[in-house]
């Protein structure tokens, strides 16, 4: 009996978005009288940071500070249509829609500012700090807040923008099966290091180290959060989680999520990553999606590491101690039979 260490590697190419019947998202932006901008969406932030990232994209495009942008995802009944936040699509799809809406709203803002500054629209710039300037004439400027207020109380105009992005439906070629399933792909490679206890069959994951290529990172802290949390979740899928665990007597199966097996902080391996940026041609500012993929490559990397450590190849998840012990027994039986036959 021993504790055996092994290393495994796995890679993933992950599509951003889906395309089974057209994949649209839309956005509406308007300025309030105080000069902040409200982005109305039906796209839900379930913790992945959509509101933060979309706010950054809107602010960058509008030319205002990020804290001047309010993301309103309050109601899917009344907001502009979104297919949903899944398939790592939101930063790409919703980001494209918001960028388009922000460009239109920015033009509307500059048209009012041009009236106020008595200057051509083409000669105006936003400084990102809440001012519209006449390029090359630093004395002539007006606050965005003042433009927004005057648009509504003096000029009777809206400062607003509409944005839509749709990946059109791609039919499948009946002869070849070829289609265009996604908009861009992100890539990752993971190296996992494990220690297998051949007496108990238990696996300790010691390290999950990954390289990611995710296009332009809008928010590197959120990208890292996805990768670290996803690595843990991948480990959880690889070794622990199932709603139908094998028990000799089904009466002993878990009845609820309090008996659902997941790793806790004590099982936490060392998790690290490097992130490379190769901007996509279709995403706003070159983004790709990085969400679901982060739980993918850790799984086969861990399974490969187990094989490297103890020579047991398990091909159904999760890799429980029982499966490893049965695999070891079979392997030892085969080895001793071969040894006996060789004598």
């Amino acid at each position: 009996m021993a504790k055996l260490r092994g290393t495994g590697i796995a890679a993933v190419n992950y599509p951003t978005g889906m395309n089974l019947g057209g994949d649209p998202s839309q956005a509406l932006i308007h300025a309030t009288t105080s000069g902040s901008f409200v982005v109305a969406l039906s796209s839900t932030d379930l913790g992945q940071g959509l509101r933060t990232v979309i706010g950054q994209i809107a602010a960058e495009t509008l030319g205002v500070a990020a804290d001047e942008v309010v993301i309103d995802t309050a109601d899917t009944d009344t907001g502009p249509h979104c297919m949903g936040t899944f398939a790592s699509r939101a930063t790409h799809r919703v980001g494209n829609a918001v960028k388009a809406a922000a460009e239109e709203a920015r033009t509307a803002l500059l048209e009012v500012a041009a009236l106020e500054l008595n200057a051509p629209v083409g000669g105006l710039v936003l400084d990102g700090f809440g001012n519209v300037l006449v390029a090359g004439d630093p004395g002539r400027c007006v606050r965005v807040a003042e433009v927004a207020s005057k648009a509504q109380f003096e000029y009777g105009r809206t400062i607003s923008g509409r944005g839509a992005y749709m990946k059109p439906k791609s039919p499948v070629d009946p002869e070849t099966g070829a289609m265009d399933p996604d908009s861009t792909e992100a890539h990752a490679c993971t190296i996992a290091e494990v220690e297998v206890d051949t007496e108990t069959g238990q696996v300790a994951v010691l390290g999950i180290r990954s390289a990611y290529e995710v296009g332009r990172q809008v928010n590197p802290a959120l990208v890292r959060g996805q990768i670290v949390g996803g690595a843990w979740m991948g480990m959880s899928h690889a070794l622990y989680e199932t709603t139908e665990p094998y028990y000799p007597n089904p009466d002993h199966k878990p009845k609820d999520f309090s008996e659902y097996v997941m790793p806790g902080p004590a099982e936490l391996p060392e998790i690290d990553c490097v992130v490379l940026e190769v901007p996509s041609s279709t995403g706003p500012y070159g983004v790709k999606g990085v969400g679901e993929m982060t739980a993918n490559s850790p799984i086969p990397a861990i399974v490969n590491a187990i094989y490297h450590a103890c020579g047991v190849r398990v091909d159904d998840l999760p890799v429980t101690p029982e499966k490893i012990l049965r695999g070891l027994e079979a392997k030892w039986a085969t080895e001793s039979a071969a040894a006996a036959g060789g004598r």
Binding site: G47, Q48, R224, G229, W232, M233, F257, S258, M262, A266
Partner: protein, 173 residues
């Protein structure tokens, strides 16, 4: 058995509330007192998202009949921060990005508060032990452990008290 009035101290103020028999502290906090910071996860003591402090000790409020806190001192996430600003623990969670969906966060922060009250400089193993009953599905725990280490290293739970008007953790006023 009919409804009865239960009185206890909640985040530094006395409350009286008419409760049904066996109503949990969690449901009373959220539905009757408007303290919605305490989350409802599994309702069976398995996830820790409902953690509150009773007389300074962490308890799963989803398992606690509110009648059991009669005359006792209850602190929720709403009582962790100073009146203005954030507690050092909360600031550390932000700086280490120690949440995504945020559902476990109130329980994690309340738990950290009592951990650091008892062990101002916890070892990594003591932190991991303390987190054993609180589930996080998003972060992989690593950023939460880092945040607790940062809160312990950068400031004791006393440090933030200078920044504002704090509820007195001893309960003696």
């Amino acid at each position: 058995m009919g409804s009865r009035i239960v009185s206890f101290e909640l985040c530094g103020r006395e409350v009286e509330v008419l409760v049904s028999p066996m109503a949990t502290l969690q449901s009373v906090l959220r539905s009757q007192l408007g303290y919605t910071g305490t989350k409802e996860g599994c309702r069976q003591g398995g996830c820790g998202s409902c953690t509150v402090l009773v007389d300074g000790e962490p308890m799963m409020s989803c398992l606690l009949p509110v009648e059991d806190v009669e005359g006792r001192r209850v602190t929720t996430i709403e009582g962790i921060a100073p009146v203005a600003g954030l507690a050092p623990i909360q600031q550390a969670f932000i700086e280490k990005n120690a949440f995504q969906c945020g559902y476990c966060t109130p329980g994690m922060v309340v738990l950290t508060k009592t951990l650091l009250d008892h062990h101002p400089s916890p070892s990594r193993d003591e932190i991991i032990d303390a987190l054993g009953g609180n589930v996080c599905r998003c972060t992989g725990y690593a950023p939460i452990i880092e945040a607790i280490e940062a809160a312990a290293a950068g400031a004791t739970t006393d440090a933030g008290r200078d920044a504002g008007d704090w509820p007195d953790p001893s309960g003696e006023r």
